[in-house]
Each structure stands twice: as structure tokens, then as C-alpha cells.
Symmetry: C3
Subunit: 343 residues, 3 copies
């Protein structure tokens, strides 16, 4: 009886399957400190218990993206061990903050499958849920990946492509219970800009850059218990490079975006995202943002800002695609998300 996990192949997924992912994880102040060591994270709500209490939360939560990475990491052995590519995200929502002492687990439902015309692989759509120790929903999102077939003779399943929203409607965003910005301290937060100060279409160059190192992205990726070989093993890719986990780029870019978006405190929605080009050690990650939309939430004083967050390894800010409509080679990430901000 083989003991190691060979991962699932395309033919192993059927719409309606629910995969209970292994290895629940309890977080502490240790994960919070490491997040601050790995990324230049400075959003005050996640840095200071006092600031968080001033905003109606019991203490500073773990960064929203750390919660995302932890949940994502759990799915890797069941979803993407044999994946050829991580194709997209949609309908990601954060439902409640994660605090020190919380234990996260994850499960994914297969919501779509489509075999590729070459017969060698297919696309699998899953909706992943992160749950805490009370079985409360912490976050959920849809992800689709291209997965190899293990048995090329396995019959093609009936194609099911889920109907996914391009953008989460503002009224579907969840404001964490208790969160309010009535006595928000803009000085302590680091910038004076409120939602009213941002215009739709406005672009912000976040200026700073971080040159990334192998040791750092591996520490991060292990911290999320993400086991995909390509992030750790120089013998796993033909060119001997280690592919940096896309979530590392997301967190780096989001942290860099503090400079210009310090008050976009809480990530509540992930509308979509593309890892446009691979990131490897030695690249200097920069970021720019574009305001895509603004909206009210059900909580007075708490607004929602929809942002495009682009990470690059160089080039001019605000350049995204070439004349051919494809991402420029220096674009690493194109992310579309909702955050909460004082109105």
C-alpha cells in the first residue's frame, strides 16, 4: 500500500465532491509577528491591539491575507499537487477576522470541471471554505486550476462551468461584527486620506520596492503549510529556480500599498486575480494600485474601496498590458479586491 500522497488527477474530481483538507492550524502571536517580519505590513488595525479596539474589534486580528494563505495552503495537497497552472480566483469573501488562538481548517467543494481539448488535462473549479474552531465561516473563495490527467484513457466528464460573479456586489461584502471607524485615528493610521479623497480611476504608485530572497519566500510558504514542490526544491523545475508562491507576491504588494492606501484597512473581497508572470528570487517587487470603484456598506462610516493591485518586477508604474493585450513581462500580479476604509 503506497503511503505517500500522489495528489489528485483531473479524473479524480467530480462536481459535488467535498474535500476535507488536512492539518488544522492554530495561530498565535507568532504568526502575526512572522507576517510583520516577512512583509513590510503596517496597516494599523493589524499592528496594534489598541488601534483595533478603537475600531470596535477585541484585538488586532491576524492579517486577512495570512488567513487566506493558511486556508489556501491546506488545499494544495488535494487541489493543486498535480496542477499545471493556477488559473484564477473569484468570489472571495472574508467573513470574520482570525485572532490568536483560533484554529483554521479548510474544505473545498468541486463546482466545475472541463476537460481540455488535448485530452491530457482539464480545469477544476473549487469553492474553498476556511472555518474556525467554532465551525464559523472565516473566508471562502473560488479558485480554478489546470490539472493533469493521471489516466489519459479516463473518460471526459460532463463539462460544468460555474456561473461566477466578475465582481462581488458591495452589499454582499461582510463588515466584521463591531467594526466602526467613528473615532478613527488618521495620525496613528499613517495617512489622512479617507474614501472621499480617492477618485474612481485614480492610480497610485506605491514607490517602495523589496528585493526578494529565497529564504524569505520559503519561510512564508512553509508557514502557510503550502507544500507545492516548485517553491522549495531547485530540482523540481528544469531551470533550477524556485517559483515563488503567488501569495507571497500578493502579500508583498499589499504591504507595499500601505504607502498611499494606509487606510484601506480590511480586505473583505477578492474579485479576481492573475499571477501574470512567475516571480523568482532576486526580483525587486514594486506595486501600484488603481481605484476601480467605491461603495457604501451597511455600516455608517465604513466605506468599501475596490482596488486593482498590480505587482511588478520593474518597468514603469501603471503599465499593465502590451499592444497584444497580454500582460507585460514585468507584471507579476493583477489583483482585484475590496477593502474597507473610513468614508
Amino acid at each position: 500500500m503506497a503511503k505517500t500522497n500522489p495528489g489528485r488527477f483531473f479524473e479524480d474530481y467530480a462536481v459535488g465532491d467535498v474535500l476535507r483538507h488536512a492539518v488544522p492550524r492554530t495561530v498565535s502571536g507568532g504568526e502575526r509577528a512572522l507576517y510583520h517580519a516577512l512583509y513590510p505590513a503596517r496597516h494599523a488595525l493589524y499592528s496594534s491591539d489598541e488601534f483595533a479596539r478603537g475600531c470596535g474589534l477585541p484585538e488586532a486580528p491576524l492579517d486577512d491575507l495570512a488567513a487566506f494563505h493558511l486556508v489556501f495552503g491546506k488545499t494544495v495537497p488535494d487541489v493543486s499537487l498535480n496542477a499545471v497552472a493556477n488559473l484564477g480566483y473569484a468570489e472571495g469573501r472574508w467573513h470574520r477576522p482570525v485572532y490568536a488562538g483560533d484554529t483554521l481548517r479548510a474544505e473545498s467543494e468541486v463546482i466545475g470541471v472541463k476537460q481540455n481539448s488535448n485530452g491530457k488535462s482539464g480545469v477544476v473549479y473549487v469553492r474553498t471554505r476556511g472555518l474556525n474552531q467554532h465551525d464559523d465561516l472565516v473566508l471562502d473563495y473560488v479558485r480554478w486550476v489546470m490539472v493533469r490527467k493521471g489516466d489519459l484513457d479516463a473518460p471526459a466528464p460532463q463539462t460544468v462551468i460555474p456561473d461566477l460573479q466578475n465582481v462581488i456586489r458591495a452589499e454582499d461584502l461582510v463588515v466584521p461584527a463591531g467594526l466602526q471607524f467613528d473615532s478613527y485615528d488618521f495620525v496613528q493610521a499613517g495617512e489622512a486620506h479617507r474614501l472621499a479623497d480617492y477618485e474612481i480611476g485614480e492610480q497610485i504608485d506605491h514607490v517602495d520596492g523589496v528585493t526578494v530572497e529565497e529564504a524569505e519566500h520559503m519561510l512564508a510558504t512553509r508557514l502557510w503549510q503550502n507544500t507545492a514542490k516548485v517553491h522549495f526544491d531547485t530540482t523540481a523545475r528544469p531551470d533550477g529556480s524556485r517559483l515563488i508562491y503567488g501569495g507571497h507576491v500578493i502579500s508583498m504588494a499589499r504591504a507595499l500599498s500601505f504607502n498611499g492606501l494606509a487606510n484601506a484597512q480590511t480586505i473583505v473581497g477578492l474579485n479576481g486575480g492573475a499571477h501574470a508572470n512567475p516571480c523568482t528570487s532576486g526580483m525587486t517587487i514594486r506595486a501600484w494600485s488603481e481605484v476601480l470603484d467605491k461603495a457604501e456598506t451597511g455600516v455608517p462610516g465604513v466605506g468599501a474601496i475596490r482596488l486593482r493591485l498590480v505587482a511588478t518586477s520593474g518597468g514603469e508604474p501603471f503599465a499593465l498590458r502590451g499592444d497584444d493585450g497580454k500582460y507585460l513581462p514585468e507584471v507579476l500580479l493583477d489583483l482585484d479586491y475590496w477593502a474597507l476604509m473610513p468614508v
Copy 2:
């Protein structure tokens, strides 16, 4: 009066001496988080407070090997500062888990000495005990090292070689108080294999590999307050390389062994171990295991599995020694340990 520690030389050890090692250490969630960042550790009992409670423990302990490294680190200034080689381990037992808030200290008793025939060095045997803030024994083990003489004219001591067990008897293994696997959740643990599914002689290739970096092994080795120069200082060895702490290889291999041994949750015995060849930055560590024995413990449902854990920097799995009987050059570690597993 010289203020710095010159370390002890061979002639400074006498059988019966008890060395009280310095710098007690309190651990927190920080050490636990760092362990997960440094190694691809996924054993559920050490990852999730909820899982640990399901197994009868109050919360997830610090990884057993982290406790070992912390105790080991304390011994370095007194035992191995002038060591030429770390020769072996025996009779290692874990007596109780370490939890956040516990403070560890260590002491070692000299239990054997044997001067080498060259008159320039000798072998020192110590039994090291790790104790917590209640003076409870946390773990103990025997280690022997070759130590240089400081004064070549010092007389050779009477040779004392301790009588050490090759293998800890199963009845001498300590099951942590309260531990039970009656409602063990194999799905959350990550694999379905119970002790009955493993056969003596079975070999498991753990498949995954991690290419190691200087920054990571130094972070780890400092975390355990291990001060041996060769791990940190490129000027300390003729070739300018830093020798990776052998315990870093042990933890890396043990974490990799999750894939195939996810239910070998708790390390309770260290029968022996050899650091077969030095590990340096840039190597890709892989691991394979061999089931050496299986046994019952005093707790129904909790079985013991005796495993050989081999870490390599390449080569074929399951290759250990050449025709000359020596370890193959790519073998880094050959460890013999007992772990607890659902029967």
C-alpha cells in the same frame, strides 16, 4: 581574569560531574510559529490545539524536536565548544510535552570518558536532561562527542564506557499523560494509515525535497541558542562554508516524513543517530524511512513504531551504505527513533 568562555577540554571532564547549563528559555507561540516557518512541519497534533485536545492533550505542544534542539543548544557551551565531532546519540526519551509558557533548562552528567590513543583528544559521554520550570523531566538522552585536549600533558583518565542500550525497549517509552487516539481524526491528520498498515521492513520514499539556505539554518540554530561557531561564521572553517547544525537536518527530514508517516505523531524515543556527512547550504534535502519495529504501549490504541529516518542530499532512495560498508556520500543523516501512532 579572562571573561569569555574557552569551553571545556577533554581533561576537564570527569565521570560523575554534573554540568548545569546556562540560559533557561521560556517558549511561546512564537517558537511554535517559527518551527512551522523553518520546516514543512504538518503533524496535526503539533499544528492544531483542537486536534491535540481531541487526543487528550490540553493544547498543541511545541514540536518534540524543537524541545530537543532547545535542550541540546544549552549543552553546546559546556559540551561541544571544543568538540571535533558529534559521535552519537542513545537512550533518548521524551517524558512530557512542552507547552507555550514552559521554561526549559538543561543539565548533563558525565557518564564516560576515553582518551584516544593519539593522546590529543578523547571521547566524552554525557547524559543530558531537559527540565521544565517545575523541575519535571522533559527529555533526556545520551550523547558522545570527541573533544580536544587543552593540555596534552594532562594524564589520561581511567576509561569508562557506559553500557548503553542499542534500542529503547517499548515498555520504557513514555506515553504523554492523557494521550489517546480513541477518536483520532485520520482525515484531519492527513493520512489514513494506522500502525497496522505498516509492515516491519517497509520502506517509504517521502518524495519531497527542500533546498536549504544559509539564512534559514542560522535562524533555526540561533533560535535554539546553539552557539557553535561553525554554523554561523564563514571564517571558522577552512573552506569558508558554514556547517549546518545536524539538528536542522533532523527536523527537515522528520517534517518531510509527514508524507507517508502523517500519523507518526509523537516522537518518544531516540535510539541512535549518525550525522553521516556534513550538510551545507544549497543542498536539497530529501528523506526516506524504514519501519524497524512495531510495538504496543501501555495505552490501548496508542502504538509505537520504530523508524529509521534517512536524510540525503541526492541519490536514489533507500541507498544507505556503499560496498565498503560506509555511508554513501549523499547520506546526511541516519536516525533511529520511536514514535506513537494509532494502532
Copy 3:
């Protein structure tokens, strides 16, 4: 409206201005564990809750230098983003320890300005205060930096140079409330030397060295939320190197000084300091100390030792300046501080 922080230029500072720095920070066991992973820190008072309780404190505090770095980091966006050089420190005092759960914030008062004769830059003196969640003073210090002018036509301000003490008087040092060394455990602390064993003028070579890596200094500098570009971005300096945060060198040297000064437990005063030469990745940091003074404090049994701590990247110990009176090129740091030690 520009959204990113351009930093302040010389003409933006006026004596009497108080800058409230952004992003308060709550610390936990995570920051403490990371400090031990980043530096070979072994002072027992900061390593063990039990040892700290034996010295009258409620638990082991965060390392004093970690508190300093956290406060320093907060000042960077307001004080040194456009700095040409960090010129000096004075009158640094630690007023109370920082414990897990404490939240630190910082503010700086401009206490001096002097435009340079070239009209392109000037020196700004600030007194920075670190405060906890109870608005208690945690530490304060004076720092002066050379800052570029943004508008070369801005008029030169009236020169104000603060009157700073070269050395903090022993009677002005603050012994943390409750601290006593009456039942001090020299064995657990690691060395037998008490204040009486040190002579003024005595020099100590701390022997050990650590070769520094990019990943490590960036982890540390981010942990302190220090955002200065030169530490992270290989494109920010003409030679493509990353300049290691001076505080990283301070902490490394202080940790190395354990070997010979294990009982200089608590840093209570910073008399001055110079980052003599830049530190970059690959250098092997060593340290030596010189006893500059000894004094009583108001607490019987608790003495103060004034130390010069020199970090180097090579060369002979105790060599500091060349015949020209300038620091030797291998000298990285020349720090003058007070620490508390059993008499």
C-alpha cells in the same frame, strides 16, 4: 492629491514641532522568539520567565534593543526618509521594560536645526519618546540626522543646537521597578563575573562571529516596521547593495557580547553611537567591548557598567581608529551604553 508619503525635507522641521509617528505596534511572544532567531541573544533575563521572576520582574521582557528598534522604526517615515546620514545618538534612556501584550507608539520633538553651509541640507535633532498603551514612557533618546532640503530656496532657519550630555549620569539611569539581583543565579546566567570583577579600561574580545545574510537583516528591519528603502531595494543604491540597518549591527554585536558580559543584563542608557562604516551582506560581524565606567544605582546590589561596544567586519580586536583619527574601515559600530549588572 498625492497619496504617498514624500517624507519631510530639512525646511519642514521647526524647533518645537512634535511629530506623532504612525502605526502603533503590539508585541507578543512572537517578537521575542524572532529576536532570538535573528540574533544569538542569550541574556537570561530576556530568555527565561523564571529567571526574570527571580530578578523581581513579572516575566522576561522583550529585549531592550527590540523595544528601541520598534520605536526607531516608527520614526523613519517622519524623520529619516530623506536623510543623507544618521549622525548620532545621545541621552538614550530605557524607562520601563516592554512585555508581551504591550503596544508601543512613538513621537519625536524637534529640538535643534542647523542648515549646512552648502545650503543643500541640514542637521535635524529630535528627541524621540516611545510610549506604551498606558502612555507610560518606555524609552527616549536624541538622534540627529542630515536631511536634504526639498526647496533649495527655503530660508535657513535660526540655528539651534541642543545642549546634550556626553554621558548620562549614573543617578539618572532608571532601574526597572522591582528589579533586584539579591538571589541572582550566576550559573543559569552563564558567567560568574560580577561588576566587581570588571576593571575600568578592561577590554574584552567577544570571540564569536556571525556572517550576515540579506534575508535575515530584511526580516529584522521589517519586523521593526522600518521602511527605509536602502535596506530592502537593490535598485535604491548605485552599487546594487542593500545597506544593513545600523540597528541590526547593534543587536548582533550586543548578542555576541554575551560571551564575556553575560551579566550585563539590562540596557538602561545609550550615551552615544556611531555607525562608523556601512555593513552589507556577507560580512562576518565580530564584537569587542571596553569597560568605560562603573557606578552604583539607587538599588542595592544592582550596579551600572558603562561599556563601549565595537562591532567590526574583521581586523584585530581593540583596533578602532587609524593614525588619522578616523575609524578603521572594518569598524562598523562604536556604541557607548550603560547596562545593569550584579555588583
